[in-house]
């Protein structure tokens, strides 16, 4: 009898734990359904071609245009600047820490850099607007008070620890035999690092970079504060732009009534954002798993 109660309890507990794990699937499902529902309603009024390929975005004006390209352009511009900062600096830091630095330096620097990743993004927004923009205005002629350059650079600083930590992990897990083989052939540390270790860790490093890209695309507060909120299709980093994320914040701050077309625009833009980060994340996970299999 006691055994039977015990077995029943075990069964119930196992089912409950399973439900907890399954809840994570429900979250994904919830995100997809909410975005899909409102986006479908949006696309019933705005043709998908006009949405995806239109070059004017003015849903909040009386003369409405729903071309999302300026928002995509703003997102790509700020993300590209961030990657131009974070990739070389993060990778060089990772190579230095993994191949050159003595152990105590690595032990101290790594957690300090990770502090950068733990700083709330609204703080970075303040830093970009109040410190980096005035600093850059002394160097870059014609830099507006709101621009793509300053938040881009600050975003790069924010994702740098992500690139350096994950890349360093990848470099670190390359078997020492490979390094020793290179040294035995007379290679210098640079040759070993650049021609043996980095190529061997390549899929791990790419996984880190793609994850960083996804983070930059989805980053919100830095661009909402420091990039200005003017949707503009441009490659000039000195003028105000608006990203997809910043647009969602802009609409959320006003009181747009639910059910209107303006309200639905944020879900349509959110859908694009979700799809792009989702595919970047999947790619990163796939690359990381491949790397793990190589050196498991």
């Amino acid at each position: 009898m006691r055994f039977r109660v015990r077995r029943l309890a075990e069964f119930v507990i196992e089912r409950m734990l399973f439900l907890c794990a399954a809840a994570s699937i429900l979250v994904t499902l919830g995100i997809v359904l909410v975005l899909l529902f409102e986006t479908a309603a949006f696309l019933r009024e705005v043709p998908i071609g006009e949405f995806l390929f239109g070059t004017v975005w003015t849903p909040l004006f009386s003369e409405k245009h729903f071309g999302v390209l300026p928002l995509i352009g703003g997102t790509l511009l700020t993300s590209a600047i961030a990657m131009a900062v974070a990739l070389p600096a993060g990778l060089l830091t990772a190579i230095y820490l993994s191949e050159y630095a003595i152990a105590p330096v690595r032990r101290v620097v790594r957690p300090v850099l990770e502090v950068l990743a733990g700083v709330p993004t609204v703080v970075y927004g303040y830093f970009a607007l109040q410190f980096v923009t005035p600093l850059l205005q002394g160097i870059v002629p014609g830099l507006a008070g709101f621009n793509a350059l300053s938040p881009g650079i600050v975003m790069g600083i924010m994702i740098l620890p992500l690139v350096s930590s994950l890349s360093e992990d990848a470099l670190h897990s390359v078997p020492n035999g490979l390094r020793e083989g290179a040294y035995a052939l007379g290679a210098t540390r640079m040759q070993t690092a650049l021609r043996v270790v980095v190529p061997a860790a390549f899929s791990g490093i790419s996984a880190a970079s793609i994850l960083a890209m996804s983070r930059a695309v989805g980053e919100t507060m830095i661009v909402a504060i420091a990039a200005g909120q003017q949707p503009r299709l441009t490659l000039d980093p000195r003028v105000p732009v608006e990203t997809m994320t910043a647009y969602i914040v802009q609409v959320s701050l006003g009181d747009t009534p639910a059910g209107t077309l303006e309200y639905r625009t944020i879900f349509a833009v959110g859908m694009l954002l979700f799809l792009s980060t989702f595919s970047l994340n999947l790619m990163s996970i796939w690359l990381r798993n491949r790397f793990r299999e190589e050196y498991a």
Partner: protein
């Protein structure tokens, strides 16, 4: 460093090799130092702007249209309410999911799907969670932009972080402990509840603190669900409208007057102080844990 080999004709090429080596080391060091300098500049800038504005009145005053009278009381209380409630939502579910995946989950297809799904959720931009909260909690369930809706949204946001860190803590528990328990005739759940969870507890706690500290700094999802930027009263229950510290900071940053920028910096000092405290506790716990295991 001079040796016989330095005099042989191959000298230029050899030196060149080592020049490259030094250069890579120098650039690596430079990149690292630049990153550290940016962190120092960030901290210096915030402290320089914010500390002079900091006072007890600043922490205990409600927001005001006049910068010099404004304080962060309502935002601070709102933050505490929302974070505590979201922890109550995310922690039990997150630990349950982690235990299932780590202790019960086989290598089956469903486990793999759940696993990839969690890794993916951890990478979904926080503002997307805001849209989920807006569509699901605020509109469909009719919670409105309340403390409860905010807590549910943030709870879902930190759920993957809780699951991932708890799994790591569970994985650090030696297998021998489980086997000894089974050998004494304990069931799976008895082993988990009486042996594995207590052994992993400090590690789990560390992860939980770090996950919750992530929620403390979140701004975008709460703006998206419609949390207000100006609230002259402390939220009274879970159905009240609310604001949180990062939103208050955002509100001040977006105003053109310099006095409000000072307020923002002072608010940031408080926010970072709060996070620093939480992280310090997590680090102390981790150190104690590591000592015990080794």
């Amino acid at each position: 460093m001079t040796s016989l080999t330095d005099t042989v004709p191959a000298l230029p090429q050899r030196t060149l090799r080592y020049v490259g080596d030094r250069l890579l080391a120098a650039f690596g060091l430079l990149a690292m130092v630049l990153a550290l300098v940016s962190l120092a500049a960030l901290i210096y800038d915030i402290l320089h702007d914010g500390v002079p504005r900091l006072s007890w009145e600043f922490v205990t005053s409600i927001p005001s249209r006049r910068a010099e009278d404004a304080g962060i009381l309502t935002a601070l209380v709102g933050s505490v309410y929302v974070i505590a409630l979201s922890a109550l939502i995310a922690i039990p579910v997150g630990i349950g999911a982690a235990v299932h995946l780590e202790e019960y989950g086989g290598r089956g297809r469903l486990s793999r799907i759940i696993e990839i799904n969690i890794a993916n959720l951890a990478g979904v931009p926080s503002i997307i969670y805001g849209l989920l909260g807006l569509g699901l909690f605020v509109r469909m369930m009719g919670m409105g932009p309340s403390v409860l809706a905010g807590a549910c949204t943030l709870g879902l946001l930190v759920l993957p972080v809780v699951i991932i860190s708890t799994r790591e803590a569970l994985r650090a528990v030696p297998k021998s402990l489980r086997e000894a328990s089974y050998a004494l005739g304990a069931t799976k759940w008895q082993t988990t509840w009486h042996q594995v969870l207590p052994a992993a507890f400090p590690g789990i706690l560390t992860g939980l603190i770090l996950a919750v500290s992530r929620a403390v700094g979140e701004t975008a999802p709460l703006i998206t669900i419609g949390a207000l930027t100006y609230i002259p009263f402390v939220p009274s229950d879970i159905f009240s409208p609310f604001t949180v510290l990062p939103i208050q900071i955002f509100n001040w940053v977006s105003r053109p007057q310099a006095a409000f920028a000072e307020n923002a910096a002072a608010g940031i000092v408080v926010l970072l102080g709060l996070l620093l405290m939480m992280n310090a506790v997590a680090i102390v716990l981790r150190d104690r844990f590591q000592k015990r295991l080794s």
